[in-house]
Each structure stands twice: as C-alpha cells, then as structure tokens.
C-alpha cells in the first residue's frame, strides 16, 4: 500500500500563542511575564540613578535632567504602571497559591482587577506625587 501523502497545508508543529483565542486570564498571564522582564531591564535605570547620585552633582544633574524631561517623565510613568501591574499580578498569584479564586467568574474578575487596579493605582500615585509638590 502506497504511503499516505503528507498534508500540504502548513500546520503548526505545536499549539502556541498565535492559534489561541485571547482571553483575559491568558492576556494577564502573558502581561505578568512581560512586565517582569521590563522591570528586569528597568533596574539598570535605578542603578544608573543611584551611581550618578554617589558620583557627584555633575553626573546627578545629567540623570535628573533626563528623568525631569518629557521623555523621562513618560519613562517613569510607564515604569510606575508596569511595576504596579506586576505587583497586582503577583498578589493574584498569592490568592491562587492559597487555593482560592479558581472559579470562572473569579478568574475573570481577578484578571480584570489586575489591569484596572494597576491603571487606577498609577494615576493615584502620580496625582498624589504632583499634588504633594
């Protein structure tokens, strides 16, 4: 018997991101890892800021000038949001670690709360920071 012809359609070798329908829980899971990776790189900014502070007024003036610029403020704003999002994502994991929050409605609620909560918290932090000025 002749061997069956292989299908000519390009099929994925294994299921991966691009063939899944995006859901809230999946998106927030991916986003938790993305924000974690972004924060990983972001610690370099913290190191640069602290080393500049320890180096003297000239170096600190340069770094403070960057973070005080419009682009610098944008970086800090996004940094705040990413940090708080990763924090709430972590708290979501703690809830799951405790063995609760696995119902369909609870999963969806937690995923949405992560995104909405991080956005609201970021705005609160920046509003408080600007008002305290």
């Amino acid at each position: 018997m002749a061997p069956t012809a292989r299908p000519t359609v390009a099929q994925p070798l294994s299921p991966h991101l691009q063939i899944y329908r995006w859901t809230w829980t999946m998106a927030m899971s991916v986003f938790h890892r993305v924000t974690g990776t972004a924060l990983y790189g972001g610690t370099a900014l913290v190191a640069i800021w602290l080393v500049a502070l320890a180096s003297g007024p000239a170096a600190y003036g340069w770094v403070a000038g960057f973070f005080g610029s419009l682009f610098g403020k944008l970086v800090l704003f996004v940094y705040t949001w990413i940090l708080l999002h990763h924090m709430l994502g972590g708290i979501r994991h703690f809830i799951w670690d405790a063995g609760v929050g696995f119902d369909r409605a609870q999963r969806l609620g937690l995923a949405r709360a992560t995104l909405v909560g991080s956005t609201v918290l970021t705005l609160v932090v920046w509003a408080a920071g600007l008002l305290a000025r």
Binding site: R33, A44, V46, G56, Y60, A132
Partner: protein, 140 residues
C-alpha cells in the same frame, strides 16, 4: 497500586530512602526556587511601595537635598533591603523565562550566566552607591 504509592514504596521504588527523606526531587533543590520567589515577592510589595514614595519625594530636588534624603538611615535601609529583595527576585524570574524559551544547551548556559552577572552587577552597583551616599563619601 497507584503511581504515587509505587513511588513512595521502598520495596518497589528504586529511589534510595535518603533521597525520599530529603524530598528534594530530581532537581536536587526541591521547591527552593519557588519558595524564595514568593518570599521576595512579599518583601517587594512593601519595599517597592516605599521605593515609589522615596522616588516621588526625590523628584526635582537639588543635589544636596537628594543626598540628604537618600543618605538618611531609614531611606538607606529601605533602599538596601529593596535592592537585595528585587535583584534576587528578578534573577529567579529571568531564570524561569530562560528555561522556558532557550533550549539549545550552549545558549541556555550563556543566558543563565548573563542573568547571574547582570543581577549581581545591578545589586552591587546599587548597594555601593547607597552606602557611599549614606556614609557621606559622595562629593557634595
């Protein structure tokens, strides 16, 4: 007999009694990675909220005031603890990401090495800077 019973039964399993008692599994460090990730995560919640407040208070300050703020004992202590907790946490997190996506042995080892170097360089640079400011060694 259920799978778990076979694994736990010394008469059937090829695992040594010592390995069974230590409970560290095939990776030889058990749930240590997972546990430290959670431990530092809890610490990070408190420390990073304090860090955000410190950064907000630093914004727009002239150099001598910035030095005085970071150099104060409480702020220095919070920053040191935050740097330790965050660099340990991020090193563990990136290791999982590498193990999930990088499969070629040479690339994987290189990536894990780079991850360790990066985490240590960031940690030591931050700690050195904080201590230098805190001990009044920075040029004012």
């Amino acid at each position: 007999m259920a799978k778990e019973q076979i694994r736990q039964n010394p008469a059937v399993s090829i695992r040594t009694p010592r390995a069974r008692v230590r409970g560290l599994g095939v990776s030889h460090h058990g749930a240590g990675h997972w546990w430290v990730q959670r431990l530092t995560a809890v610490a990070n919640v408190v420390l990073m909220l304090a860090f955000v407040v410190i950064i907000a208070r630093m914004a727009g300050r002239p150099y001598p005031e910035a030095i005085r703020l970071v150099g104060s004992p409480l702020v220095s202590l919070i920053l040191i603890l935050a740097v330790l907790s965050v660099t340990i946490h991020m090193r563990l997190g990136m290791q999982v990401v590498i193990e999930d996506y990088v499969h070629a042995p040479a690339t994987k080892i290189a990536a894990v090495f780079a991850n360790n170097f990066y985490a240590v360089v960031v940690a030591v640079a931050c700690l050195y800077a904080i201590l230098r400011v805190s001990f009044g060694q920075s040029p004012v």
